[in-house]
């Protein structure tokens, strides 16, 4: 299953499906090929320990802090998201689990090396310094940061609150689809003129 559709679909749209290279029997431990899409359920058990969940919460809030308007990740259920994702039986998620679990351990180790205590006991500034130290490493440490951020950003902005935070205005019924307004058209014209179009 090494050719899943690319998740990094930068337009937020369906992209042409890339075939799976192998056609092995699919796992029976997932939600199956005919799940109830009206009342979705996640059939697999969450695997993260209490400590790991606290680490996810703490790191999430450093990587993507809340604002006065939109809450920090830990306040909108990001731990549940990570717990579901990293516990899923599919290959992509299994590989994420290994990387993230190792990365969380590394954060703790690095924290103890620098400050003699685990990551959770540090204040915000020191947490950031530990993270910076991890980012400065190469190999899996760096991969851990990039993948954690990828999952965090995805999980946050696909949440109901994340839709508002990013400025998504769709998913509402309309009677008609309005043309762009005159002022938007003006902005478009100005921009294109600068490009000689």
């Amino acid at each position: 299953m090494d050719r899943l559709p690319e998740e990094a679909n930068a337009t937020g749209q369906r992209i042409p499906f890339k075939a799976l290279k192998t056609r092995d029997a699919i796992t029976t431990a997932g939600y199956g090929t005919d799940p109830n899409v009206i009342t979705p359920k996640t059939p697999w058990d969450p695997l993260l320990s209490r400590h790991q969940l606290k680490m996810v919460a703490a790191l999430s809030d450093i990587v993507l802090p809340g604002t006065s308007e939109f809450a920090a990740p830990s306040k909108i259920g990001i731990c549940n998201f990570f717990n579901e994702w990293l516990s899923a039986p599919y290959k992509t998620q299994q590989s994420d689990k290994d990387l993230i679990f190792q990365g969380l351990d590394l954060l703790d180790r690095e924290s103890r090396r620098l400050y003699w205590v685990g990551f959770l006991w540090l204040g915000r500034k020191r947490k950031a310094r530990v993270l910076d130290a991890v980012i400065a490493m190469s190999g899996d440490a760096r991969k851990f940061f990039a993948r954690f951020r990828y999952l965090l950003v995805g999980g946050y902005f696909t949440s109901d609150m994340g839709f508002a935070a990013i400025g998504y205005k769709g998913n509402v019924p309309l009677q008609s689809f309005a043309p762009v307004s005159a002022d938007v058209q003006q902005i478009i014209d100005d921009e294109l003129r600068q490009l000689g179009l």
Binding site: A19, Y150, V153, I166, V180, L197
Partner: protein, 562 residues
């Protein structure tokens, strides 16, 4: 089923072709049985409208269980159908076969772009000496396009573009106005000499035949409980059932057309998906509409003394000349789009504009190194966030903290994608056959695929790369998708060919109405009959061919000639 009175007509498959045939033939008064290999499916109660990604496992991301994401309407399918494998020959290029197992088939989750073939598309060999001509012309099919479009509803605007037919007045539904990013892209397309057309989409922009207009939300690929796009299960099958003439049998996996000693079809044999029991449906006429390659497989597996190599296969043409589309996508980021005020860009799900192939003259003059064209479908806008949002930042970029949020907000809506949908010329090295060694869970031989893109497809794909890069850079943007790869055969899910139509039994499996040369009361009405695979997405043409073939069946039956 065996105990029942014979039906007038049994149809294998319930998607575009099967649904269309059931609709027409039930309305014409025939008693029809439709056999569907998958489960019953009701878009009225099973469509996730106005979804929340947050409620879906893994935020709706694609998995091996649901290859196009959790909410995609595909049931029990994708590139893997449990218990129903297929194989790819060792020397083949990579190939992928998308199949669902549900009433209505792929019409439940198709892309809804509904383009007519043009006059050139039916006579490709006459124009450039490659591939094969159809045994009909555009004018033969035009009235059936009109009829289908009036029935299902297709948007559009008269454009007067070469080889891109405009329907008669009153047939098209008004197209939605372009989204902001589409206005921007239009200017770049036109600068490069292209003509931009209003999208032709099987989505209602006004009420039609008792169906509600689109609500401008919810991806069509999830299905539609308001029946505002075309699905066999919302538009065709309920109407057919309303006649009282239709019997639908789900979970009936047909593997064989049965032939009597005189060479006439007596019905079809099937296996019940759940019990494994064998069954037979008797009928005076059999229609294969199982999906192109599945229909070819049934013909190949229908072996008898009269047809030792399968029905219609005396010339070895069943399974040959299968085709897909050269579907290739480049993604890019166009910073000027950041500066447009946020608005609701959901629209009718498909692009609101597209670019028909624009270089016919250049090809005529021999200025291009590929003879057949592609159209462009541009996508973008501030659409529903997916897990892909995480891909806005390069893995090498170490940004986190408030700067991370700023970057995401800034970049949201600035990405576009350009998808080319290009013609593939049929070739000798691309075909399917029965695999002597592999059987499905019921012991029926499966298909083995051989795929090879021709040099012309590769050249066309290179042209797509070049042009898409030019479009993006002319708007001050940059390409963000990774290194380009030739698409995988079959991945566009524009599955056609395998039992092509033609002028005689020496060059084809069926005639222009889908009637099998070898068995007069057996018809193939799906994409298997396609002789070529133009850049235009196939569904609308499958519907038109199925409708035309159904009229022929009705006519022959009433004359006592079946």
């Amino acid at each position: 089923m065996g105990a029942q009175e014979p039906f007038d007509i049994v149809i294998v498959g319930s998607g575009a072709a099967g649904g269309m045939a059931a609709y027409d033939l039930c309305k014409a008064g025939f008693r029809v049985a439709v056999l569907e290999a998958g489960r019953d499916y009701d878009p009225g109660t099973e469509t996730p409208m106005f979804i929340s990604q947050q409620k879906a496992p893994l935020r709706g991301a694609a998995t091996p269980d649901k290859n196009n994401g959790y909410y995609d309407a595909t049931v029990d399918g994708g590139t893997t159908v449990p218990g129903e494998p297929y194989t790819t020959a060792a020397d083949s290029e990579e190939f992928s076969w998308w199949r669902p197992r549900m009433l209505g088939g792929r019409t439940n989750h198709w892309g809804r772009v509904a383009l007519r073939f043009g006059p050139y598309d039916f006579k490709p060999r006459s124009r450039d000496g490659l591939g094969f001509d159809w045994p009909m012309e555009y004018d033969d099919l035009a009235p059936w396009y009109d009829r289908v479009e009036r029935l299902i509803g297709v948007t559009g605007r008269p454009e007067g573009i070469e080889n891109t037919p405009d329907p008669p007045a009153g047939v098209m539904l008004p197209p939605p106005p372009p989204r902001a990013y589409e206005i921007v892209l239009t200017r770049a397309f036109e600068k490069l000499g292209m003509r931009v057309a209003a999208i032709r989409a099987a989505i209602l922009t006004q009420p039609l035949n008792g169906r509600a207009a689109c609500l401008y939300a919810t991806a069509c690929t999830q299905g539609c409980s308001s029946r505002s796009n075309f699905q066999s299960t919302t538009v065709l099958l309920p109407e057919a059932q309303g006649t009282g003439n239709l019997t639908i049998v789900c979970n009936a996996v047909v593997h064989e057309v049965e032939i009597d000693a005189t060479g006439k079809a007596t019905g079809v044999n099937f296996v019940d998906r759940h019990t494994g029991d064998q069954g037979k449906v008797n009928a005076r006429c059999v229609i294969l509409a199982a999906g192109a390659f599945s229909s070819a497989r049934i013909l190949l597996n229908s072996k008898s003394t009269l047809f030792p190599n399968g029905i219609g296969n005396s010339q070895g043409l069943v399974g040959k000349y299968i085709m897909d589309t050269v579907e290739f996508t480049v993604r890019g980021r166009i910073p000027l789009l950041e500066r447009l005020p946020a608005r609701n860009d959901d629209g009718i799900f498909t692009p609101h504009i597209y670019v028909p192939w624009w270089l016919y003259q250049e090809q005529r003059r021999g200025e291009l190194d590929f003879p057949r064209g592609y159209h462009i479908e541009p996508r973008g806008g501030r659409r529903m966030p997916t897990m892909g949002i995480g891909g806005y930042l390069d893995a090498q970029d170490a940004t986190y903290g408030h700067g991370l949020r700023e970057q995401i907000l800034q970049k949201y809506g600035s990405y576009i994608s350009l998808s080319g949908e290009g013609e593939m010329i049929p070739n000798e090295k691309t075909f399917c056959e029965l695999d002597a060694d592999t059987k499905d869970k019921w012991g029926v031989p499966v298909l083995r695929f051989h795929w090879k893109w021709g040099e012309y497809e590769v050249n066309q794909w290179k042209h797509q790369q070049l042009i898409f890069g030019q479009v993006i850079s002319s708007l001050g943007g940059t390409v963000t998708s990774g290194p380009a790869e030739m698409p995988i055969g079959g991945a566009a899910v524009h599955e056609v060919g395998g039992a092509r139509m033609g002028m005689s039994d020496t060059d084809s499996v069926v005639d222009q109405f889908g009637q099998c040369w070898a068995v007069e009361n057996l018809f193939v009405l799906d994409g298997a009959t396609f002789v070529s695979s133009p850049d235009k997405n196939p569904t609308l043409t499958i519907l038109a061919i199925a409708s035309r073939g159904s009229a022929r069946i009705a006519e022959l039956a009433k004359r006592g000639e079946l």
